[in-house]
Each structure stands twice: as C-alpha cells, then as structure tokens.
Symmetry: C2
Subunit: 580 residues, 2 copies
C-alpha cells in the first residue's frame, strides 16, 4: 500500500512539503487539511493588498501563472487531497491517526498516517488590556481580516487608526493605511525603538525619522497600551497608550505571534519554554514519524547558538522542501537560521542579518559596531544613493556577527545583507569580508563596496586606530555646548563648516583635514576632541594623524553629519531638512 | 630613518596602498609616481563620462567629497609625495633604487626604496591588422582618450563608429555612443558571443538580443577584423570584419589589455606565461621587498585552481589595502579571486561569478547548469521583473561552481551573484544554497528566492528527475517541424497554447499540466517529448509525473518560452515582440 502522509496546515510549509513529496514520489498519498477556507496564500502580502499595490485578493492566492491555489488546483496540478474548513483535534501517536473535525458540518473522523507533518503556524499575541473585544479592534492574521480592513478603508469608514506594535507587520500596515488611503495613523510601541526584535537604537532612529516625516504617520515609542476605549455602543473610539488618549476608529493589533502548538502538546511532543515545537536539524519532532516546521517550531540561531523563535514565511518555504525530502527517507538538513530581515517603508529600505550590537553583547560576545556611510555604487554615478550600515564583529575572534543596512535603493540594501547569508553562520571573519569580491561596474556597485569598507572600519576600531563615538553621545555633548570639556573639530571645507560654526562656536571649530598636519598645535590636548566630517572618512584620516602625534583624546563621529541628519536630529535647527 | 616606500603607478592600487600605509604609520615616507599627468581616476567610469552620465571629467578624478585627487591633494590630505609625468625606467634590486625619468623635461635620477610597490597596470592589446595607426582609431585606455572621443561625439563629428571587441568596455562604449549621441554603432567580435570571457552562449544571447533591439546598435559575432580602411588622407573610413566592409568615422579598440610588466621583467622578477607578474598570497613578488598588484599581476582562481589574468579596478583597490598592511610587516592575505563581473546596458543588467558551464568543463568538472526563470521578488508585487539565471554545479561533488543572472532590476541581479561571493571560493554546496536565508519582504524578495530555486533545479537535474533541453537544441528541433521524431507538449492554458498550435501543429500539442495524470495515454512513447511551459516549472512538474509513469523520453525546456523569447528567437514569427 502507498505511504500515507497527512499535513496539518495548508499555508507556506504544508503545501511546499506536500508538493515536494508528490514530485519525488507521485505514488505517495498526501492529504492536507486546514481550518480555513482560503489556503496557500502569501500572508506577507497582506499589507500590499490593503494598500492597493496588489489589486485583488486573488493575487495573494495565485501561482505566478495565475492559477488560484485552491483545493481543486492541489488535486489536479499536484495530486494532493485538500480538506478545507477541517480542524485536526487530536493526534493518536499509538495508532498513528489524526482525529479531524469538519468546521462547517461538525462531523468528526479519524484518518491514518504513516508520516505526519505539523504545519499549524502561529496566532497573534493580543495584549491583555481591556477593550480588545470591541468592534474595530483586530489582529491582521489572515486574509479574512485583511479583507475586512481593506473594505473599511476603501469605503472611507476609517479616519484615524492606531496600530499597536512597531514590528514589521505593524509598520507595513501603517504605510498601507497612511500612504494610499490617507488615514491618520498612530503606531504605538512599548519598546524604545521600532523593530525592536532586529534593530539597535541608532539604525532604528533613521527609519523612525523617515516615518515621522511622512504625512499621517505618527510613531509613539516607550508607549505601552493600557486600554482600548468604548464608544458606548461596543465600538472602539480610541486607545490609551503611555498615559495619553489617541482617538481612532480602527485598531490593528500587531504585537507578534505565538506558535500554534496545542495539538502537539496534547500529543506529548516536546515543546520549548515558549511553547514552540522542538525539532532536530532534520525537522523531526520528538516522534520520528512526525515532522514540523514553519511558525509552530523554534530554530537554532547559528550565531548565538541559542534556540530562538523567528516566524517567517520564507523560512517556512525552505523548511517545507527539506521536510518533503525527509518524509521519504532523505537526510536533508536544516541546521538553523541567521536572522535575515528586510522591510521597505515609504521608499526607504532597511535590512538586517545576524545579531545587532545589543544582541551580540547579550549572547556573550564583545562587539565592535561602528556606523559607516557610503554611496551604494560609484559615487560619481547619477543613480548613487547614500547607504548607512553597521557591521557587528567580535573583538577577540574578529568573527562577523551581524549587519544592518539602510538606504533608498532597496535591492542594493538587501543585497549587502544577503551577501553575508552564506557565510555568517559558519563564522566568517572580518578579513574575508574586507576582501569580499563584490561585482563592480559604476552603475551597479563601487570599486570598494560599502561592505568591504564596513569590515575595514570594524578592523580599524578593533585595532585601536579608530575611536568612534555614537550619535547619541555626540548629540548629548553638543547640547552641553561650550561649558563642557568637549571641542568639535570640523574637518571639512570652510563652506561646509560655516553654519555649524555660526550655531555652535566656540565649542565648534574648523580645521580642514588636508591642513591638519601643519596645524597640530591648534588641536587641544586638555579636552575631548570630537572629529567631524560628512561621513566619518576624513575625520578617521585625521584621527590617524593625531594618534601618531600622540593625541589620545580624540573621537570620530561615526557616520558623520550625514548619519546625524538621517536620524532626524535637527543639528542646524528645526529648519534643517537637508537630511531628508 | 623613516621607512622609504616607492609606488610605481598612481591609479587604483597605488593610491590605495599608499594611503593605507600613511594611515597605519604616518612616519613612513611614501613616494608615488606616474607617467600620466592625471592620476587616481576611476577608469571604469570612462563610458559614463563619454555618455554624459558623468557630466565633467572631474567627476572621475574627485573624492566623494568633491576634492580633486591630484598631487596637491595627496600631499595635503594623505601625506604622500606624488611625481606625475614621471616614468620608472629601471629597478636596481641590489642597491634598492628606482631610476626615474621626467617625461616633460627629460631629467633622470635614482630614488631609494626600502619597499617597492609595482602598480603599473595594463595596456590595450591592439589586433595586428593594417590601419591601426590611422587617425580616428583609438583604444580607450585613459582619460585623455576618453576626452578625445567625448569631444568628437559631442561636436557631432561622428556619424558612425565601429567598436572592436564585445567585452565589457566595448559594449559600455557602444551604449555611450548610441544611447546619448545617436551614433550608428557596430560592435564586431571575433568570438561567437558577446562577453566571451564570462558568458555561455545561452545567457549571452539574451543580452545580445536586447542590444540588437536598440536603435543604432549592431552586433556582429564570429566577425574578426582584418583591416582598417584609409580615406586616402590618413583618416579611417571603415573597417573590414568577417569579410564585410563597415563604413565609419571612428574606431574604438577594446580587445582587452595585457599587463605592464616590462619593468618587472627587466628587474628579473618572476612573470607567468602571459607576462603577468607572479605574486604570492601576501602579494609579494619573487623579491620579498617588492609587492605588486592590480592589472599587472595574475591571480589564483579559487574555483578552477588555475592562475588567471583578471584585470579589475575593484580587485586592485582591495589588493591595495592588503599591500599597504603587508609593506609594514602585516600578514594580510589575498588568496585569490572568484571572477565576479557585472554590466548594465540599456537598462538590462547581467552579472556573473565563478565558472560558466564551458569553463567548468574545461577545468575538469562535470557541470550541470539548467536555466531558471523566476520573478526577482514576490510575483504578486507590482515592482517584480523576471530574472534569468544559470547556476553551475559539479555533478559528483554537488559543489557550486558559478552563477550567471540577467534582469531589469540591476541591483537585484548583482545581489544574487554577490550572495555567493563569500562562499563559492570555499566550495559551498548546492544544499547550502538551497537553504540560503535570503531576506524576504514582498517588495524586496521572494519567499523562495530564485537563488534557492536555482540550487533546487540543479539538484533535480543531478538526481535525474529533471531532464533539461538547451534552447539551441529546442529551436533546432522546432525548425525541423513535423517530419522529426519530436513532439512539443504545451502544458499551459489553452489560451497560452493557441498561437503555438496554429503555427507548429501537429508537432506542437496541448495538454494542461493539471490534467496530465488523467491523460497519460495521450503522451507518445515512441517520440521525444519536449515539455513546454512559460518558465519551466509546470513542465518540470509534468516531467515528474511522466517519470513515475515510466516515460523516459521526455525533455524539459529549461526557462520555458520566456527564456526563448528573451534570447530574441522569433518563436511566433518576426512580429513576436512579446519577449522584448
């Protein structure tokens, strides 16, 4: 008799595993079930459906050749039996059967399996505050919710909205509401930064500044929600967050997800502390005939060496293929993840891989993480745009631990992060990235790529030639003004320095880098000297000169004035929009 | 006394090494000399200056903060002594002196060195045919030549031009002449494809087709130049190539470069067969006090294991930093190159890394290299564009050997190639790339990236599930028509198949993939069956079904109809422009 494979869950991982099994061995019987009527959709596309970028919900449900991925499609094109509106209520591991219930008609029955795949995904975490059950308050967890929101905004029924949570989904939904529909949108976040799962404060601040510059977008940080307000008729009228009341007629809850693992727990499979199913590197659960993957499992982080929970549609797809092979006896490995992430918001893109500086420290490393600013291709090419980048490396081992990049050419930003994907898990060194052979042609890259430059800069920091100062510390000292024991030394042209001298002299001084060697006596030795240029490159050059002349009181403003401006700090007053 | 470092050559590697030395130890005396009056320019930017993308020659000579990199700049900002219009005429290794000559005044003298860096670059190879000395015939090897061409075209003195050589420089110059200036441009190439140093025929044909679709561009392949024609007054009037005469008033010679190594040869340093200076992985020549890098040296190819000559401004820059450190006693390694390359022409970009299928075979591997076509981001996102990709892997070791990608979003194309840069030299496996964690968000990537898909496709080929047919073979059989023992089976919708049935029936048949399992008896067993869809994905699905049903006579058209059209083949007649 044919092998019987049952798959619980028909989005991302489930279909991928099922199709792979049928391609490897069409004689296998594959049955896939799902609670929902809509299956195999691109959930990550929901914000783009709400915004109108994807005109029709079918876009998220269709193959690249425009066939809708419904039960009929899986039957005809893939040879997979699909049962929609069907819930798995219990797994009997002894008899190897799954008890299933039809959610429309109520009938229950058991179906046998030789191999079982748990692809139950995740559910939204809802903050435990009063009012979450009001009309107009909803998580964005499936296409039905997406449709409801899209209907409300497209019919003009939403004037203002509060998005709870500044993670990827929350920010993408905020863009969708504000950009196309002109909804006044407030994003409230309990943490001190947006995207707290991935970003350090400096890099987060650049995107926050960009978001705040958009019409209709308001970001509220350090702002936990304490209650949702009732209009007296069971409908939302506002949100209380961080002690303030924000009026709104729609609340989207985007405070993360948790693994759907009740079924696995009841079947006695091993779960981790946060309730995610534990799988080995072959994606087997603690029962060798049961595989699991996607949003219901935790993964090994290949850099920190810790198990983490990183739900991702992309990881789920790749895991699906691995499981498909292993169900049939293959030995395909999925050793873990390296935490890649990207997001595009109002034309600005941000991407990340590995650990940020805070995470690296928490994982026991001694991180060096200077900020680097450079053009994303030949600086003389008209298509160039500035990119802002932080590479994190361990000081003692020189191992690269993470990378964050931000800029306007989204593909170019993501490219730098992806360039580390194949090697960062294996412990790539700074020296290898310093020499990394990035393709070069002036319209497409730089002779010395920003990724090479970032590795070089980390090395300079580790070896003590570069002594970098964070933006936060720079602005704190700048605001102290002349009373403090800090001198800011502008290494640029007189024209560049002029407005800064007008605003900050005498604390701000001017000494062009190319004249420094002849004017060493003008550099104070009794104060901290913060060296400043546009990007941090000329000021580093100056720091080398001063190091050699015996100065040990200099700091380089990492990323220069460009980075300070990008973070939204009004260094030349509120009228200074040059960073925008 | 301070260490004396002399650098011969002041473009790319020379300045990079010199500046690094001065940053590491400002007490070192660095003297850099160059035959030219213009130094430290971005030579790769020449086509963009000729086209007008870079408005002023100063753009190629300036830092990102708009300071011109002349002798004064290097003196003031970097502490480097620069002698322009100065030629090194001999190296005396015994006394450690370089004999230099002033090209303007004729004086000669010797300068001592403790460490010498040879950064003499390369010179154009000029084909040995009559007429190369005529007025209007020139290689594009420096800024002076660039200026002359730019003056000629901007003053309207060029109506038609012949570019000899379809390498990167030749094609970029052709774009510059034709696109902005409307010059009728002919590119003549002796090989059977453009970019013969990097491309296989299939991938090259897609870019060739794109070039030929542009106004004023004509590509002549298999077309060696035999002579340049004189107008009787010492000026060019045309070119004879491949037996044909092409009239023109400008000839640009872009048939590659050779290393400038005469000085090294005369000093008794080791050269390789093609005359490039041999260096070790620390970039030391056979004399431990003399370093060399950039266009005058050969490199180890980390995949083929052979020494190659790959001149590149980008490699030169990275080598410069390594030499800078090693001159001061560092042990920085430059183990070799992996052959990355990219080019953007009329909005279409092409990138490559490692070995192509032909090169892999020549290097002793047994390559599998199927063509894959997929969107470069979520297929439902409006910014998506199709990408065309070939990954090359060794059948027995499953080692990835190379990658070529082509598409309209240039940064996205280059990104896939760069994603292999850190791992391909170390022998990354197909399985690792299959699971490569590319960042995903619908505007910036796909849940299963084309790079993952390409690795999966190579694996399917190696494991015998996929039996792929090259485009060349497909079109050859298609032209044979019904007389041949080949059936083309269109697995798409009736609407897609209709025009193909009209043109090619009875050799062309139609059987939608989703109905195949019920119609196996309609598939002939006595002929070769070529399975066709738009991209090769549905036809692969069909092939799996047919394999399991015992058919061993099926071929999958790799890349599908999309790839055939992209290569410019008029599959539905000359009116078929749908691939453009």
């Amino acid at each position: 008799m044919s092998l019987q494979v049952v798959i619980i869950g028909a989005v991302a991982l489930g279909p991928k595993a099922g199709c792979r099994i049928k391609r490897l061995d069409p004689s296998v019987n594959v049955t896939m079930l799902d609670r929902d009527s809509l299956i195999s959709y691109g959930g990550c596309g929901i914000p783009y459906f709400v915004s109108g970028d994807v005109a029709d919900l079918k876009g998220l449900l269709s193959t690249s050749f425009h066939m809708e991925r419904n039960a009929g499609f899986f039957k005809g094109a893939k040879g997979i039996e699909v049962l929609t509106r069907t819930e798995a209520v219990a797994i009997d591991r002894k008899t190897k059967q799954v008890r299933i219930a039809n959610l429309d008609h109520g009938g229950e029955k058991s179906i046998p399996y030789d191999r079982l795949i748990i692809a139950t995904g995740s559910s939204p975490v809802v903050p435990p505050v009063p009012g979450m059950d009001l009309e107009g308050v909803m998580p964005i967890n499936d296409l039905h919710a997406a449709q409801r929101v899209q209907e409300m905004v497209s019919q003009g029924r939403v004037e203002s909205a509060v998005v709870i949570g500044a993670g990827a989904t929350g920010l993408e939904m905020a863009e969708a509401l504000a950009d196309l529909w002109g909804v006044e949108t407030h994003v409230v976040e309990a943490a001190d930064r947006i995207l707290p799962a991935f970003m350090d404060r400096e890099m987060a601040s650049m995107m926050t500044s960009h978001l705040e510059a958009q019409d209709e977008v308001n970001i509220h940080l350090n702002c936990p929600v304490s209650r949702i307000l009732d209009d007296g008729q069971g409908k939302v009228r506002g949100v209380v967050a961080g002690g303030e009341e924000i009026a709104c007629d729609l609340v989207l809850v985007a405070t993360g997800v948790r693994p759907n693992s009740e079924l696995a727990r009841e079947a006695g499979l091993e779960l981790d502390d946060r309730g995610a199913i534990v799988v080995d590197e072959y994606l087997r659960t603690s029962d060798p005939d049961i595989f699991a993957g996607g949003d219901c499992v935790s993964q090994m982080h290949l850099i920190s060496g810790q198990r983490i929970y990183m739900p991702s549609g992309s990881v789920a797809n790749r895991m699906g293929r691995v499981i498909g092979g292993n169900v049939l006896g293959g030995q395909n490995r999925f050793p873990g993840v390296v935490g890649t992430f990207c997001i595009k918001l109002f034309g600005l893109s941000l991407a990340h891989i590995g650990l940020n500086e805070d995470q690296a420290r928490a994982a026991g490393f001694d991180p060096a993480a200077p900020l680097v600013v450079q053009a994303d291709r030949a600086h003389f090419h008209p298509d160039q745009a500035m990119m802002y980048m932080k590479m994190v490396a361990d000081r003692s081992s020189r191992r690269v631990l993470g990378l964050t990049a931000l800029g306007e050419n989204g593909d170019a930003v993501v490219a730098r992060v992806n360039a580390l994907a194949a090697s960062i898990g294996g412990g790539v060194s700074l020296d290898e990235i310093s020499n990394l052979e990035m393709a070069y042609s002036p319209p497409l890259g730089a002779a010395l790529d920003i990724l090479n430059a970032a590795a070089n800069t980390v090395e300079n920091l580790i070896e003590g030639r570069l002594n970098s100062m964070h933006m936060d510390e720079f602005t704190r000292r700048l605001e102290q003004g002349e009373g403090a024991d800090t001198v800011f030394m502008d290494m640029r042209t007189a024209e560049n320095a002029k407005p800064f001298l007008e605003r900050y002299a005498p604390a701000w001084t001017h000494l062009p880098q190319e004249t420094l060697a002849q004017h060493l006596n003008e550099v104070p030795r009794d104060k901290d000297v913060v060296l400043v240029c546009n990007s941090g490159a000329r000021s580093y050059e100056a720091q080398c000169t001063l190091n050699a002349a015996g100065f040990s009181n200099t700091y380089n403003l990492g990323g220069g004035v460009a980075a300070v401006r990008k973070s939204g700090y009004p260094i030349l007053g509120n009228g200074d929009k040059s960073g925008k």
